[in-house]
Amino acid sequence: MWQDIVLRFRALFFRRRMDQELQEELDFHIEMQARRNRQHDVDPAEAKRQARLQFGSVVSATEECREQRGLFAMEMLLKDVRFGLRMLRKSPSFTAVAVVTLALGIGANAVVFGVLNALVLRPLSVPQAESLYSLHRNDNSAAVSYPDYLDLRDRNRSFDGLAAFNISQAGMDAGENPARVWLYEVSGNYFDALGIRPYVGRVFHDSDEHGPNSAPYIVLGYAYWHTRFQDDRGVVGRTVQVNKHPFTVVGVAPPEFHGTMLFFSPDYFVPMVNQEQIDGSNLLNDRGKRWIFMTIGHLKAGVTPAQAAADLNSIGSYLERTYPKDHGQMTFKLGRPGLYGDFLGRPVRAFVAGLMLLAGLILLAACANLGSLFAARAADRSREVALRLAVGASRIHILRQLFTEAVLISLIGGAVGLWGSIVLLRSLSEWQPFPRFPINVPVTPDANVYWVALLLTLASGFLFGAVPVRQALRIDPYQIVKSGSIGRIGRRITVRDALLVVQIAICAVLVTSSLVAVRGLVRSLHSNFGFEPRNTILMETGLDMAGYRGDAVRAMQKRMIDAMETIPGVTSVGLVDRTPLGNGSYYASNIFTDETIDLRPGNAVAESATYSISPDYFQAAGTALFAGRAFSWHDDENSPRVAVVNREFAGRIFGSPSNAMGRYFKRRDGTRIQVVGIVEDGKYQSLTEDPLPAMFLPILQSPSSETSLVLRSNRDPQQLAAAMQSTMRGLDSGLPLLIETWNQKLDLPLFPSRVATVSLGILGVMGAMLSITGIFGMAAYSVSKRKRELGIRMALGAQRKEVLQAALGRALKLLALGSAAGLFLGILASRVLAFIVYEATPRDPLVLAGVVLAMLLLGLLATWIPAQRALSIDPLTLLREE
């Protein structure tokens, strides 16, 4: 065995020497035989000749010896590869088309798989991410209150430390421009529970917490440290102002740690016990206020998620019993952090899975395309193949060669596609779709992507390489040498026809889905928001970030509104604490009928979106008031509590909007509020939500330091923004502001629709390009092969239309068949598409018409050149040549 390896090694690297030695050995043998022959009195030359005859074929003996070396297969493979490369070089246009087609297919799949890998398969970049889970209640919300978190942390037996974090914003002043930052408020054991070691300095621990506001420390995120402090290690130990409170920087997190949410990178981390300084009010003691974003932890070794959920449920029922006022049903389930468990996780997974399916279809179409190209090429080379069979090549050898060529092409195409996809994925990773949010999609490619690309490449190579196999196997050399080539122009349905139909069907599906996505996007853009975003500018700020407290807040808000009203061109100015459809979150509170005595969450009629507004808000936002009145500045803290509600709210509490006017309802703290007005319904949390109840309270009765001003004006937004900036600077230069138009603000909720449309659009375009190539290829091929027939037809008097029909009829029939099949499939796939695009339904007549039109256009485009070629055939020259 050892000898075997040594010999193989020698055979690989010293081939020439071994060949020489072999030759020498065989020569020696012949020499000896000649000597023997000379003993029979034959002259030397004759003896030599006889010796050679007696030996037999030296060549085949040499061949067989070489075979015995054991590297035969590899040598043949190398030869095949070289031959394949030569053949590909000889037909550059075919190679180029094939490589581009395959690059598109593999590239699309690599990109989609890269996204799938990063978002779904690859967990967060924390140590031991497989055992990290997040806690969710049954409505998928992960929010808990601080006292509940403490109980969960201390009473559970399933987790190796339970940590909590919240996302918040603050005003940061490090000596230069004050700016708003995004930060995590984290429990003391956050870094320890996750196993995160600091890059510079230290992180904080449980031991740093000594009660509320006792740990004014900051751990900077690596990216923020890089951009804001330019990697200055001296920043550790420095004191900065956060919301005008002094905090000390104690360390920097490692570069690959971006917190525990997949899309979101916070600028820095502060301890949760100092939450009051960040958020403006103390929420640590209220068991009913669920403000903490998420609780996460590593499962203890040997504990299954089901066991942990049971453990948590027992804690939940304890909390229900002990604090009935603050808890409704408390049952838990575990989810994966990163994509917020199922809430974001499920739609993202469905979306990416849908995309993967479509990308796979593209690859299939590309393979079909290449398969028919290959079959055509094989048919063209039938003479060469016949000759080779006749001189002794085995069919297996021919097939091996075909496959080698196919795999070569797919490797080249795959490499090109992979390179393109890497470029795309890298630039996608660095893309920040919303400048105001630190959101990005971390999809840098890793080893998985490369492996998958390689796998797909090889699979495609074998797939389309297999198409001409049947044909190659059935070649009868004698027939072909006699008659010339395989010229079968019958009416039978060949494999190539079937492939073309498959291709066109796939393209039709892709085009259908793109059009559906576009329609869905258009529809969602025109849906009723409950406000009119056009001609509106928003100015967002948080007064607590500049140190305003208590009454100063209200006073400042009034001053701001008055100041804004003085700007020329402004029609109306309104104020709201958080704009609807804003950050994706909204303040919801339980509402009870007036008759309810026991105000526990289980008895609530609904959870209503709650907004605090100034009197002119409805005017500024363009929200229609159906009945009653809006607020005035007389609805202050000394007047009876009033509210304006939307129709959905009125319907839920009072049965119908008409019953609602003047009636009362209760909030969780027992206050009775009277309904004085009814407004239209709208969207508050996301574009795809069911109708939600909403109530609007006067800002003076329900104060909030979060402030968004809504200015309605017809002026140019740039000028108006500048005017707003200078006015505000006159009022308070230390206030961090964010000014944008409402349409810009809607970018966030519209983002999923836009992404879906773009991706499906790109896939649709790719599918269209592949179809055009396919139809073009078939049409051109058929025209070129049937030149003689067409020439005869023309000579016999066929009109242009008849010639075109003969030349292109088949291709166009296949196009029609494929389109119909694809359209049908697209309609069937409406469920899949509904995952991707909101309100997607392929049954829309506009979509159907669009698809038909698109396929017609494709067909026209693709057959244009072959049609010209067919019509330009001159029968005289053609027939003369034959």
């Binding site: 075997d4 050995e25 043998h29 037999g56 003996a61």
Partner: protein, 144 residues
């Protein structure tokens, strides 16, 4: 007179095809040119066995091996020279014989083969198998 047909890569009897006949028949009857040649297809391993046995006597080059087999079998077995060398290379790769360049009686150098330890063992095994096989066949011929 028997013709040993070294089957091309197959361990079973094969039907010889027109193209392949020259190189595959490794032994021919040593008759004057012109007479009929009867061919007998035998197992491939037989040539290996003969080579190994011939080498037990000592190291020799390919020509000497073929001569020796012919001599000892009293001219009954004539090794087809075209199959000898592939067989030698195959045995070398399996590790049963080893090869060295040495000086031949002609003065020019030749490749000398000799048995290895595992080759000796293999020879014993194959000789035993051959003995069993021939005995079994003889028994069938006597009884059946």
């Amino acid at each position: 007179m028997a013709v040993i047909n070294a089957g091309h890569k197959l361990d079973s009897l094969i039907v010889v095809d027109i193209r392949q006949q020259e190189s595959l028949t490794c032994c021919r009857m040593s008759t004057p040119i012109g007479t009929d040649q009867s061919r007998l297809d035998l197992l491939q391993g037989t040539l290996d066995l003969l080579i190994l046995r011939a080498l037990r006597a000592g190291a020799m080059h390919g020509w000497a091996i073929s001569e020796r087999i012919q001599l000892i079998s009293q001219d009954v077995l004539q090794v087809n020279q075209g199959s000898l060398y592939p067989a030698l290379h195959r045995l070398e790769r399996r590790g049963w014989i080893k090869a060295e360049w040495g000086v031949s009686e002609l003065g020019r150098r030749a490749r000398f083969y000799s048995l290895t330890a595992s080759g000796r063992k293999q020879l014993e095994i194959e000789a035993e198998n051959w003995g069993k096989l021939s005995e079994a066949i003889a028994r069938v011929l006597r009884m059946a």
